[in-house]
């Protein structure tokens, strides 16, 4: 996380927002020894869950996968009595090194972001959560300071919108990414 300039800026943008809690997994569990009870309690007390991370090998960093494996328990998050997350919103916020054109069927990665994020989407569905199109910052290698600042500001706006319930759910269905036209999404 710390090694990603973009993610650092996004985190800074989120930190300090009223009603938003930043939970840095690497800082809390440097040895990957995740406190399941604490994490579940955090999930229960919030309505929107944002998984923010750099896109490592087309997926989440290892610690976030470990988090899913341990925290999303049967009988709690899914399964017969597993309804703790029902109705909560799930957003993925990722940064990728390559630019957007790489993530197309004709691009070097052959698959789109939504396709690559399918496991997360299905995870959300299984847990009865509302899956939002991802917040994506592409081409981080090539971004200048202003670009990153703009992304961070967008991110902040989006989080505020999610917090205040201003995201127009009818307009986001099927979007490749939620921050393509943020004004429209936030009902502007």
């Amino acid at each position: 996380m710390r090694r990603s300039r973009v993610n650092r800026r996004l985190t800074e943008a989120a930190r300090g927002l009223d009603g938003v809690m930043v939970n840095d997994l690497y800082q809390h569990y440097p040895d990957f020894d995740i406190d399941v009870a604490r994490e579940q309690q955090l999930l229960e007390s919030h309505d929107v869950v944002v998984m923010q991370h750099p896109f490592y090998w087309y997926s989440t960093p290892a610690i976030l996968k470990e988090w899913q494996d341990l925290v999303l328990e049967h009988g709690w998050a899914y399964g017969h009595d597993g309804d703790a997350l029902n109705g909560k919103q799930l957003l993925t916020a990722v940064s990728t090194g390559a630019d957007g054109t790489a993530y197309t069927e004709d691009g070097s990665n052959h698959l789109t972001m939504r396709q690559l994020l399918a496991p997360i989407e299905q995870t959300a569905r299984l847990c009865g959560m509302v899956y939002l199109p991802p917040f994506v910052v592409h081409g981080t290698h090539a971004l200048g300071k202003e670009d990153i600042d703009r992304s961070a500001a967008d991110y902040r706006r989006l989080l505020e919108g999610l917090r205040d319930g201003r995201v127009a759910m009818d307009r986001i269905a099927g979007l490749e990414r939620i921050n393509g036209d943020l004004d429209a999404v936030l009902g502007g």
């Binding site: 090694r3 990603s4 973009v6 690497y26 440097p30 896109f55 490592y56 090194g97 630019d99």
Partner: protein
């Protein structure tokens, strides 16, 4: 004298020690008995290689006892000494008081004058610091309840010698021709002073040691250490011990007590280990010499003349002392086995008796025909002590000790656990608890029976027993176990047990606690690779947490700690076996340190860099290098 001078003497003493001690150790008799046997062998009644000079050697070698007490003081934190105050004053005081009273009564019973009886009673109430402490240390029993109690009593006795020296002249009644006052003993500064002034001098001397030890010795040693001439540091250490011993003698205190005090004062200083290392070989050799001299001075001529009397006195003395000790031990709440250990170890007369008997004779308190047989009795009881302790360990404890009780539990030692855990102190307890909650059966062996009793009350399943004994190891199920964890707190015993276990139970995977880097080297060099330095992980944890506190993200701090750890473990294994060649070793250590620094600092630079900006944007547009792994 055999005339060939010093080197001839040295040759005989050293050869006797070198031959007999390893044999005695191999036979499981312990080094003290080895030295004593060596002394008897070269003494006037066997090979006759040393004669009258044995007594002189004895007086010289007594300095070994002084050094031993200095070393014991070094290992004893002042706070521990304070905690022992109850048993030092209570147990020690009662032991000396009761024993002296009973021996006095015995003296009166056989028709001695009351003053002579009292003198004999006081003198015989003392035990042998040298033999007891050396034997306890060698067996690793100093930290057990019985060992601590024995030590407390010995400490009190050392203090009790001072008033005894003062009282003895008052008991003079012309039992023999009065010698020159204080003849043969160096005159002290306090002689002839009024009581209050003498007391003041004594207090001043003790205060000088305590204050000097706190304020002067540290800067002095720092200055000396900076000279980087190791032998000068050794010389300074010897100077310190000898100086304090002489000062104490001058003010009429026991030199052993004085150096012990100095040791305690220095126990918290940073030079403790250097001092220990420097003094230890001198103490070892002098003490060995002392034991040899004791052996050589046993007057077999005297014994042959009055075998019945001396035999009866020896048995009587040991028996009476033993009974008093066992009652006192019970009163002071010692567990069954610890009480046995305590009582067997102190049931002899001590080396102070030699000095005090000759002093009492000079002072006209005791007649020669009383002291001569008694001196032989004292020497014999001292020589018998290691044997008695062996009898306790081999015959008495197995039959009447706690282990017997343990065997009565039906599922006791027959249980076939996959793990044997030897040693249940600071390290063993944690391992044992962890395995227990994980549902892994472990047979736990601990040598301190009081600790065993306590842990059993807390619900732990612990067996009393010295895991380094083959029969006990077998009884603990070593034949069927898969793993042996050795968590003693004595490095020598860890190595010893590891080797015994490997030889007799080659199928066992042996996990060793290492007390430090040197110990880890020794274990690795001996071919054991599951070696765990006991403080490494907590030190690294502290280091990591400190980094974290200073703002290094927790995960990065942990990664660096892990990298350091891995590197250090590798270096440890690489450097083991290279220690003989000091220059090469130092070179290698430097190389390793430099390599580690490079690894960590390159890691650090890595962290500091803006990785996602490190790629050039032209390269980025080339699909071949599109790599998201580093964003």
């Amino acid at each position: 004298m055999h005339g060939e001078g010093f080197f001839y003497q040295a040759l005989i003493y050293l050869a006797a020690a070198v031959v007999s001690v390893p044999i005695a150790k191999r036979l499981g008799l312990g080094s003290v008995l080895g030295y004593l046997i060596a002394g008897i062998a070269i003494g006037p009644y066997a090979l006759g290689l040393v004669g009258e000079d044995g007594q002189d050697v004895l007086h010289f070698a007594e300095f070994g006892v002084v050094m031993m007490l200095f070393l014991i003081g070094l290992e004893l934190q002042p706070s521990l000494l304070w905690r022992l105050r109850g048993s030092i004053l209570g147990l020690g005081g009662l032991q000396v008081g009761v024993t002296a009273a009973i021996f006095t009564a015995v003296g009166l019973g056989v028709g001695l004058d009351w003053r002579s009886s009292l003198a004999v009673g006081l003198i015989l109430s003392l035990s042998s610091t040298a033999i007891v402490l050396q034997t306890l240390q060698e067996k690793g029993l100093m930290k057990t309840g019985g060992g601590r109690s024995a030590f407390s009593v010995l400490l009190f006795q050392d203090m009790a010698v001072i008033p005894m020296l003062a009282i003895l002249p008052l008991l003079a009644h012309g039992a023999s021709d009065r010698g020159v006052s204080g003849g043969g003993h160096s005159t002290t500064w306090v002689e002839g002073l009024p009581g209050w002034a003498a007391a003041l001098v004594v207090v001043a001397a003790v205060a000088a040691i305590v204050i000097g030890g706190r304020l002067l010795i540290r800067p002095a040693f720092r200055f000396i250490a900076r000279a980087r001439v190791p032998e000068i540091f050794t010389a300074a250490a010897l100077l310190l011990v000898i100086g304090i011993a002489l000062l104490m003698a001058r003010v009429g205190l026991s030199p052993a007590l004085g150096t012990f005090l100095a040791g305690v004062v220095l126990a918290t200083s940073e030079y403790r280990h250097e001092l220990e290392g420097d003094i230890a070989p001198f103490k070892g050799l002098l003490l060995g010499l002392f034991f040899i001299a004791v052996g050589a001075s046993i007057d077999f001529g005297q014994i042959a003349q009055q075998p019945g009397l001396i035999g009866a006195l020896v048995v009587g003395l040991i028996l009476i002392k033993f009974i008093i000790l066992i009652i006192l031990g019970r009163v002071f709440g010692l567990g069954h086995d610890q009480n046995l250990l305590f009582s067997f170890s102190l049931a002899q007369a001590g080396e102070f008796a030699f000095v005090l008997f000759s002093f009492a004779t000079q002072q006209g308190v005791l007649a020669l025909d009383v002291t001569t047989p008694l001196v032989a009795v004292v020497a014999l009881t001292m020589a018998l002590t290691p044997l008695l302790m062996l009898v306790n360990e081999r015959l008495v404890q197995p039959r009447f000790g706690t282990r017997e009780r343990a065997r009565r539990e039906p599922d006791a030692m027959d249980e076939s656990n996959p793990v044997i855990l030897a040693g249940y102190g600071r390290v063993g307890t944690v391992i044992g608890r962890l395995l227990r909650v994980a549902g892994i059966g472990a047979t736990v062996l601990e040598v301190d029976s009081d600790q065993v009793d306590l842990l059993r009350k807390l619900g732990h399943k612990v067996f009393y027993g010295d895991a380094s004994r083959l029969d006990l190891l077998r009884a603990a199920g070593a034949d069927s176990a898969r793993i042996l964890v050795i968590a003693f707190d004595d490095p020598e015993r860890i190595l010893e047990l590891a080797e015994t276990a490997r030889k007799n139970f080659p199928h066992l995977a042996i996990y060793c606690r290492a007390l430090g880097r040197t110990h880890a080297y020794e274990l690795i060099e001996a071919g054991f690779d599951r070696v765990y330095r006991e403080t490494l992980d907590s030190s690294l944890k502290i280091g990591g947490d400190v980094m974290s506190e200073l703002g290094v993200p927790a995960f990065e701090a942990l990664r660096r700690v892990r990298r350091f750890r891995r590197h250090d473990e590798e270096a440890l294994r690489e450097l083991s076996g290279q220690r003989e060649d000091a220059t090469k070793y130092i070179h290698l250590v430097r190389q390793q340190a430099a390599a580690l620094e490079e690894v960590l600092s390159s890691d650090l630079e890595d962290m500091g860099q803006e990785l996602d900006a490190a790629w050039d944007s032209t390269a980025l547009r080339d699909p071949a290098v599109q790599d998201d792994g580093s964003s």
